[in-house]
Amino acid sequence: MQNMNLYSRGDRLFVRVNMVLIGLFTLSTLYPFIYIAAVSFSSGFAARAGLVVLSPVEVTLAAYGRVLSEPQFWNSYGNTFIYTIGGTLTSLVIIIPGAYALSRPQLLGRRFWNLMVAFTMWFHAGMIPFWLNIRDLGLLDSYFGIIIAFACNAFNIILLRNFFESIPSSFEEAARMDGANEFQVLWKVFVPLSKPAIATITLFCVVSRWNGFFWAMVLLNDEGKIPLQVYLRQTIATLSDDEEFSSTLIDAPYSVETVTAAIIVCSIIPVLCFYPFAQKYFNKGILLGGVKE
């Protein structure tokens, strides 16, 4: 962009007003996080009385003490890692070779296979048949079920397939003349050349796994297998429904609000750690998403 020195007076005003507006929008995006963090470090009394606005009131770690002393919290945290890592690896192992095969011109029935994948973006059987299917496959209440049932989605496959198709054919041909077979072409040429696309779908997988809650809630009854998001939801629900709990809390150093906030903070921290690494792929990834048939 040009230097502001070359701007007219009106333009400078425009740019400054614009900066202020963006700043306000950014702050309003940021504020709920600050608020939740402040609540999590406040005393139960201050939180209940609505005294927390920007910074913690009557600073205490009591809420964290309660959250972190809960074995179920750690258990579900661990489960989330299992689902995220296992699920993402499974996705990559299925999607990368699959997308490669779909990008090969010599694949017989290529149009058919591509349509078969793309069709699922437009039409899906819906919640109930999907659930019944998982039940019939005996995958309810299983780690494996959660990992495998959400391994693929058409969008990621098409994104990667398009990227593979954009790689000049001479790379493949050169490798082939050097004696590489399909697996070697994929692993030694296409995968290294497709780092941005693979990073993007990895990002999508990790985020959706980490945040996934609905199907984990529906498919898992065993408390020992639930991920963090389901645990968080249960905690919020029980804490706020439990009149007794609330009333006994008058004197406690924490409250429903501070405990909820503390779990939220604990659950966001890994996202914040992962975020900077992921960020550089946003633009590329979204642009790759400009999918075509």
């Binding site: 502001m4 009106g10 425009f14 740019v15 614009n18 900066m19 963006i22 700043g23 309003s28 995006t29 709920p32 939740i36 609540v39 939180a47 209940r48 609505g50 927390v52 192992v93 299925i94 999607i95 070779p97 095969a101 090969r104 011109p105 010599q106 694949l107 017989l108 078969m116 793309a118 437009w122 899906h124 059987a125 819906g126 919640m127 109930i128 659930w131 019944l132 299917n133 495998i148 041909e173 077979n181 399909e182 697996f183 945040n211 996934g212 809650f213 609905f214 529906v218 998001q229 939801r233 609000e257 909820t260 939220i264 659950s267 966001i268 975020y275 633009n283 999918v291 075509k292 048939e293």
Partner: protein, 331 residues
């Protein structure tokens, strides 16, 4: 692989050519050709197989299971053995005020999200584009993208905490100007604003990326010649940037309209209560309650089928409109 391999990626035609050529030949020759093909190309089929099996098992098998929408499904008999009942479930649905309400709510919530939510990322992108200070711009972008990566449950947790009647910041603030605390989450009239507002908070920033990318694709010499012609930044925004990204805007709008039946029902499940069903209950939450909570699988599957068919028609329509608009298909 000792035989001829891939007849090259460069010739997209070759597969079709071989197929054409093969069909003209007698059956035997065709079989020989196929055997030969699989012998030298088996590896790509090995690569393809897991994905196709996955699609059949997890997405196409449920489509077969959709037949329960026309059956009196019983768990004991299973999908195939349950007796057919024709359109009975659909008749039930269309006489069910809850279902009709859910359809209405789905459309209203989607439409309102579109009207209020759609322009925001465009404005954001235009505004980000005018920021010269790179560090400031990057910082702000980093922050506004962040909520996209936060889970629905956390969003719900934040909303519940912030709108809590006694402790929430919203009531604290309206208390400063002398308004009595409101229990927002049990007021039907507040559900939609809260839902749509939190949706904008979560997605507006991230959605601006696509428009920023479109803006980045505008030929810089257009701006340079405008500067020489004495245009102001404001004029350039209206006369150059917006017209240039109009195709993107239109395509995104069409996609959104195509996805009208997709409401973020996960957040609704987390936020709604019986008290707010009248404005909050959408088709998917209805299906969830009827099917997974009350066990009326067949009726819920019928509702799901209705939803999926309408969605399919909308998406197809959107795709064909966008093809005409942009001459590039969306998919």
């Amino acid at each position: 692989m000792t035989d001829l391999p891939a007849s090259s990626a460069g010739s997209a035609n070759s597969a079709g050519e071989q197929a054409d050529g093969a069909s003209a030949r007698p059956m035997q020759e065709r079989l020989v050709w196929l055997a030969d093909h699989f012998k030298r190309e088996w590896q790509i089929y090995v690569m393809l197989a897991p994905m196709i099996i996955w699609f059949l098992l997890f997405l196409y098998k449920p489509m077969y299971g959709l037949q329960i929408a026309f059956k009196d499904y019983s768990i004991f008999r299973g999908i195939v053995e349950s007796p057919w009942v024709g359109l009975e479930h659909f008749e039930t649905l269309f006489n069910n005020s809850q279902f009709l309400r859910a359809v209405k709510n789905t459309v209203i919530i989607s439409a309102l999200s579109l009207i209020f939510g759609f322009p925001v990322p465009i404005f954001l992108a235009l505004m980000f584009n005018e920021i010269l200070h790179a560090l400031y711009r990057r910082t702000c972008q980093t922050i506004v993208y962040l909520p996209h990566f936060i889970s629905t449950v956390i969003i719900a947790g934040i909303v519940i905490t912030a709108f809590s009647p006694s402790a929430g910041i919203v009531n604290t603030i309206i208390g400063w100007i002398g308004i009595e605390p409101v229990y927002f989450l049990i007021k039907p009239e507040w559900f939609r604003p809260i839902f749509i507002g939190s949706g904008i908070w979560q997605e507006a920033g991230f959605s601006s990326i696509i428009f920023l990318a479109a803006i980045a694709g505008v030929n810089p010499s257009l701006y340079e010649s405008a500067v020489v012609d004495g245009a102001s930044r404001w004029q350039m925004m209206w006369k150059i940037t917006i017209p240039s990204i109009m195709p993107t805007i239109i395509i995104m709008l069409i996609i959104r309209i195509g996805n009208l039946m997709e409401v973020g029902f996960e957040l609704i499940i987390l936020l709604y209560q019986p008290a707010t069903y009248q404005t909050a209950d959408v088709i998917n939450t209805f299906i969830y309650r009827q099917g997974l909570q009350s066990g009326q699988y067949d009726l819920a599957a019928a509702a799901g089928l209705f939803n999926a068919v309408v969605a399919f028609v909308l998406v197809m329509a959107a795709n064909s409109v966008s093809k005409r608009v942009s001459r590039t298909s969306l998919w």
